[in-house]
Symmetry: C2
Subunit: 196 residues, 2 copies
DNA sequence: CCTACCGATCGGTAGG
DNA sequence: CCTACCGATCGGTAGG
């Protein structure tokens, strides 16, 4: 009956790997790099994990699950499309900001997944994208969103939202919710003057 | 006095490398991979190029120059901000579509540049981003663009424009100029119904 | 968790 | 453009 908030060795490995995979990429970061960061030998890592592959899988699929749970919750709680979109983006930005290392690996290094896992991963991402497509469709039906190429719109929205891993600074002036609000504003009304 | 349209061995190497760097990433694609694609031995590559690094540098800096030339031309030819933005995006998409392999490497693999070259590369990208910032500012002054966080707006615009390397299909139904028009529409007026 | 090690593969060079 | 090769490093295993 441990009440300690100790983080398991396995999770320490995953956390360290996230940091190094983000910094140097999955291929360039070696098991020796990860081990030395933890003050142990590379061979010792294998008492906790099966392979380098496995680490990447855990990082990518954990994040995928987080994103999918968040969008499911939004669809449960909110009713109108604009609010759904607003909250989906807010959650998305929060998840990225809560663990920037893992989120960056999820977004940037997933290509290195082994081919079976890669297929599964891609299908989870499609599932996530599809949730956004449904929201946009709903907005069109509610007559609050313009009729657009929905696939195209979702790609554009997610690209902007995911791009924040490239510039987000936890010590910067914008907190995650502000970033989300700014993004949503941009997505909803664009750059052009409304009262021109 | 050769009139042949032959492509030099060096350029063949660069083209093949672009393809493989995009497909497998810079680190994972080996010199032996590139050589075998060309039907020669890995050692033979070094008669035409100095190092693997050099290939990446050539790809990244060639593209950087293309992008910078294009935006300079836009600023020379057009006057009002909206038209400048429209044409800048059109050129950007055209450059990406004209050589998807090289563009993808430019956008995805530049992190592997050696540290001196990386610094130079990042400064070229900042220069490019700055040209967009100037256009947005001009639009604010002309009272056609809303006042926004300019840095944020440029990041969002470029993320959407660059994301096309992830889904653009040369054999797909949308030609580059259509993609550019769609993107520009989205960026200018957003998702929300105007006549609600 | 360590020592000791393996086979494979890497970028690159020498010398022709 | 090739053969022959180098030192370095990789992910991972055996055995304790």
């Amino acid at each position: 009956m441990q009440i300690e908030t100790q983080i398991s060795r396995k999770d320490q490995i995953i956390q360290t790997a996230s940091k190094l995979f983000r910094l140097k990429s999955y291929e360039a970061a070696s098991m020796r790099d990860i081990a030395s960061e933890l003050g142990i030998e590379a061979a010792s890592l294998y008492s906790h994990i099966k392979s380098k592959d496995e680490i990447l899988e855990i990082i990518c699929f954990r994040k995928a699950e987080e994103f999918l749970n968040a969008i499911a919750e939004v669809n449960d709680i909110y009713f109108d499309a604009e609010e759904k979109l607003r909250m989906a983006i807010k959650n998305h930005v929060r998840i990225i900001a809560s663990d920037l290392d893992a989120a960056t690996v999820f977004l940037r290094e997933w290509r290195y997944l082994s081919s079976e896992k890669l297929k599964e991963f891609v299908s989870l991402r499609h599932k996530y994208e599809n949730e956004y497509r449904i929201i946009i469709h709903q907005g069109e039906n509610e007559n609050v969103f313009d009729t657009v190429d929905v696939k195209f719109a979702v790609l554009t929205i997610l690209s902007a939202v995911n791009w924040i891993v490239e510039w987000y600074n936890p010590k910067g002036s914008m907190v995650p919710d502000e970033i989300a609000d700014n993004l949503t504003g941009f997505i909803l009304t664009g750059l052009k003057k409304k009262t021109a």
